[in-house]
């Protein structure tokens, strides 16, 4: 019988389960992983360097493109760091809108994660179900910002504009007749809040559907239970955050522990795992979707009752209204200065961390007093998670690597930056 030796296997970068552009060099003993060496950087765009040559407000759009499945949360971290350095705070209504859209984003992210994770392991249907609900939430993105993915909606000092009174409507096409369009538009007749309220009533039932497909599914459990176990001590050592940390049983959520915006007024629970395996992290994320839905409901209620400004009235930082500009010299000057030169941040440094769907998303800005950041460092949660790949995958089989990539919720936009 010939001797079987260790061999090296190249996984990705063009592999459907590599979530984009992960290249992994796996050292294998038969089908067992001995060493996993992820090669990243294939999506490195130098966002931090690019931001150094642009005024602060022109980099908000870059933030959407970091973790491109949780766009508004990235913007939130960046905008908070700027506000911290400027010493300003957004109006309360804007804070509620931000919290609401952060939670919409969390559901969007977890839905994509759920669908992709399930399809990687071999469950096809969940993907289709998850994208059904994502469609509705992306309509909310579209209604409020005009873009379904890269919104650029948060601004230092508030949000770009107030919530709209109408929802975008479907139109008839070669593929959709009048009858279908009417059915789709039925829930889109009221304001955005009406639409979202209807969604939040429907959504728990949808989560039940996903759970019916997966939670007690024998195959799903065989693929996830005791795969990629991380103890709480190691999770902290490895810099885990978000569901990866909570899955290991550490009760840590920035929304509760270091609340920003109006999270301290929200009533919600933090789900925590027990064993720290992939199945626990699945349960944590599923419960997070339910909790996010509750937070959205609370925000809708408050936003209905409390109209008000959504942008600071400080025109050294926020642009004046279009109508004012037409008649008022002062506003015209403000507008011109803001969009040609931008605003200078005081000299100093600030770090703002938020509870991003994937973990702690941190923005560290060093300012030398100019209208551009001197150094912008983005702390991407996925970067720390992926660096633990070797530790999590060692001793598992090749097929489990796919399950571990899935459970880490890797998106290369934010790992590579």
């Amino acid at each position: 019988m010939p001797e079987i030796r260790n061999y090296t296997l190249n996984f990705g970068p063009q592999h459907p389960a590599a979530h984009g552009v992960l290249r992994m060099v796996l050292e294998m003993d038969g089908e067992v992983i001995q060493r996993a060496d992820p090669h990243i950087g294939l999506l490195h765009r130098g966002t931090e360097k690019l931001a150094e040559s642009k005024p602060y407000s022109q980099s908000i759009g870059y933030m959407d493109r970091l973790d491109y499945v949780s766009m508004m949360c990235n913007e939130h971290g960046y905008v908070l760091a700027i506000e911290k350095l400027l010493g300003i705070e957004a109006p309360v209504r804007a804070q509620y809108i931000r919290v609401m859209f952060d939670e919409i984003t969390r559901i969007l992210n977890h839905l994509l994660w759920l669908g992709a994770h399930a399809i990687d392991i071999g469950a096809m249907t969940v993907f289709l179900y998850a994208f059904r609900e994502r469609e509705d939430l992306m309509d909310c993105y579209e209604a409020v910002s005009g873009a379904r993915l890269h919104a650029t909606y948060y601004r230092p000092g508030g949000v770009h504009r107030d919530l709209p009174d109408t929802m975008p409507q479907y139109e008839t096409s070669r593929w959709r007749g009048q009858k279908d369009v009417d059915r789709l538009n039925e829930i889109r007749q009221g304001s955005m809040l009406d639409f979202l309220e209807d969604f939040s009533r429907r959504f728990p039932g949808c989560v039940d559907q996903y759970e019916t497909l997966l939670t007690d599914n024998r195959i799903w459990k065989q693929r996830t239970v005791s795969i990629g176990v991380v103890t709480p001590e190691r999770a902290m050592q490895l810099g885990f955050s978000g569901p990866m940390l909570r899955g290991s049983g550490v009760e840590w959520d920035l929304r509760k522990k270091q609340p920003y915006e109006v999270y301290d007024r929200m009533d919600f629970d933090i789900p925590v795992g027990v064993t720290g395996d992939s199945y626990d992290r699945y349960l944590v994320r599923i419960e997070e979707m339910r909790q996010s839905n509750e937070i959205i409901k609370q925000c809708i209620k408050w936003l209905r009752d409390n109209p008000g400004p959504v942008m600071l009235d400080n025109h050294k930082v926020t642009p004046p209204k279009r109508e004012e500009m037409k008649a008022d010299m002062e506003s015209l000057i403000h507008h011109f200065k803001l969009f040609t030169e931008g605003y200078c941040l005081p000299e100093g440094e600030a770090y703002a961390g938020i509870e991003h769907p994937k973990g702690e998303f941190g923005t560290y800005i060093i300012s030398d007093g100019a209208n551009k950041p001197y150094r912008l460092k983005i702390r991407a949660p996925g970067f720390a998670h992926l660096s633990a790949m070797n530790e999590m995958a060692c001793g598992h089989m090749l097929a489990d690597v796919v399950a571990i990539i899935g459970t880490q919720d890797i998106v290369f936009g934010d790992v590579d930056r």
């Binding site: 950087g41 931090e48 810099g239 030398d368 007093g369 970067f383």
Partner: protein, 241 residues
């Protein structure tokens, strides 16, 4: 909140006295500047001792201070011809490879590494800043032995800034391309880069060639000292005097 930060700052100063060269509480954050020689012992103490318990290294960022305070547009002084035009080619966005690198007004050491620590047990954060003593060969001790998450962060700082971490188990490039030359986040590395890649139909393969694109920055970088940015408190103090 501020009391808690002040208490933390006081206990840090009390415990590490000589090793600290600076301790600042600003914007709800505590920042300490450490001497490079005391890095490992201080970090071990920060992780293990009861008053600190920083069990997580959240982030590690390299910083290049060479161009600190350098602007592309002097908007403070005007001559008989008016203000300058904002076209000085000084910062990394504006010059091309082999042009003169930027020299800032920053005196002192060029490279720094900033560690962001988090204590989950005590719910507190700390920023530790360390300057590398040699500008030509920035060298620091690796903290991988203290926080495992430092592994990739230190590789990133090495890749982007050329900071070398002594004792790192596997200090390779991480974000840039295989065979990349230079450290792209240094301030003397041009934004457009050095080389570009294209398919050459004659040779029938992909080749590298010197960059052909022109560097272009639309909005000049400027530091303003006019009344918009004067702090209210400073102003009132001045008027009191």
């Amino acid at each position: 909140m501020n009391d808690r930060l002040q208490t933390l700052a006081d206990s840090l100063e009390h415990r590490f006295g000589n090793a600290l060269s600076n301790c600042v509480v600003a914007r709800g954050e505590v920042t300490i500047t450490l001497d490079a020689a005391h890095l490992l012992e201080t970090c071990t103490a920060l992780r293990d001792e009861d008053g600190f318990k920083f069990e997580m290294l959240v982030d590690l960022a390299g910083v290049d201070y060479q161009a600190y305070g350098v602007t592309e547009w002097n908007a403070d002084e005007a001559t008989a011809e008016g203000f300058s035009r904002g076209v000085q080619e000084s910062t990394s966005g504006r010059f091309r490879f082999a042009d003169a690198p930027v020299v800032g007004t920053h005196t002192g050491l060029r490279f720094a590494v900033v560690y962001h620590l988090l204590s989950i047990t005590r719910n507190q954060r700390l920023r530790v800043k360390i300057f590398c003593e040699d500008d030509d060969l920035p060298l620091l001790d690796s903290v991988v032995g203290i926080w495992s998450s430092a592994n990739w962060y230190e590789r990133e700082a090495f890749d982007l800034f050329g900071i070398i971490f002594k004792g790192h188990p596997d200090l390779r490039r991480i974000l840039t391309d295989y065979g990349f030359i230079g450290h792209p986040f240094r301030k003397d590395f041009p934004l457009v880069g050095h080389v570009e890649m294209r398919y050459d139909p004659e040779q029938g393969r992909v080749i590298y060639q010197p960059v052909t694109i022109e560097p272009r920055v639309l909005v000049p970088k400027t530091i303003r000292h006019d009344h918009r940015y004067i702090d209210d408190t400073v102003e009132s103090e001045a008027s009191d005097a």
